[in-house]
Subunit: 176 residues, 2 copies
DNA sequence: GTGCATGCAAACAGTTTGCACAAGT
DNA sequence: ACTTGTGCAAACTGTTTGCATGCAC
């Protein structure tokens, strides 16, 4: 009788298998990029990935990273989350699905459990016929800290501008 | 006794008043831009606004449009809605508040009444302390038409690429 | 060996900005 | 007059692409 063993595989190992299964080539660049996305916690930008992989192999080009994350998103191995105009990527691990709420001011983001949006998703689908893709879904707002710091000087809504790319003060908080 | 008369003002008239009240100058360019945003229905891009105003005054620069929509957003006279990576603007008329759901494939967008998100907004605020800004809020997905046309060739999620800027087949549908 | 993947550089779109001049108050 | 707003052009960021070479299969 066959024994099914639950082996805990890392996300990048799963992704490597998927790549091969779908007939794509397993290059050292791709492996490094996959490891980078796992190594850096949270949702990462192409630039962050590039900096990480560059430490291992300084010749890897940013274009390769762009092409790779695009490929991986297409294979549903990564989710793309756009925060403040820049694409961020994270493993599309189905067991840890969540949504995002990002602070417009400091750029920090928290995870929101899927159940918060389940009814909404169903409602929208029923009422509109639209098929909402909640994976690519981010609510913007102000985090508690920034609410205090910006209540007065509130001149305009688009706080996270191009290139500001601020490092969040409390990057990843988990909800109950 | 004073009589309060409800005069129906157009959005751009209101905006003109707000500009003066906040000490900004009323230039012909700004007036034209305000009229354009009202003249073109739905959420409009800077390029659309520029094309419109150019017909009245061919010397108006795109930079002026950018500066103006930024100013107006800052004064909460416009809402900024980012669809497929490009900023769209619409009057922040409080009586017609709504949210958006945009099709990733064809770029069309429908309006979603605010009540769909009221409970979610409250819930999130209570549970996380985040102050969600639902005005800047768009759910992406697939419209009914594109669900039929893309069920098979579903290779990747980011369908609306830079520069594609497709014209929606059914741009603005109103929900019950 | 064949064809996909990479590195490099150049292009691209959307957006922002520095500066001299124009124009609203 | 004083200052803000404009037009123009140039810069900038994130991203895509064409092409010759390199490497996984």
């Amino acid at each position: 009788m066959l024994q099914v063993v639950a082996i805990s595989m890392t996300n990048h190992q799963i992704a490597i298998d998927s790549l091969k299964e779908t007939g794509h080539r397993l290059t050292p660049q791709r492996v490094l990029i996959l490891e980078a996305i796992e190594g850096i916690s949270g949702h990462v930008t192409v630039e962050q990935i590039h900096q990480w992989v560059t430490k291992q192999n300084p010749t890897i080009d940013q274009a390769t990273v762009y092409r790779t994350v695009r490929l991986l998103s297409g294979l549903h191995l990564l989710n793309e989350v756009v925060l403040g105009g820049v694409s961020h990527y994270e493993y599309a691990d189905p067991v840890s699905r969540h949504h995002h709420m990002a602070c417009e001011h400091c750029g920090c983001a928290i995870h929101i459990p899927t159940h918060y949006l389940d009814k909404l998703q169903l409602q929208l689908k029923n009422d509109t016929g639209f098929e909402p893709h909640m994976e690519h879904f981010t609510i913007s707002g102000l985090c508690p800290d920034c609410q205090l710091n910006t209540n007065h000087s509130h001149s305009g809504h688009r706080h996270v501008h191009r290139g500001e790319s601020r490092s969040p003060s409390h990057p990843e908080v988990q909800l109950p």
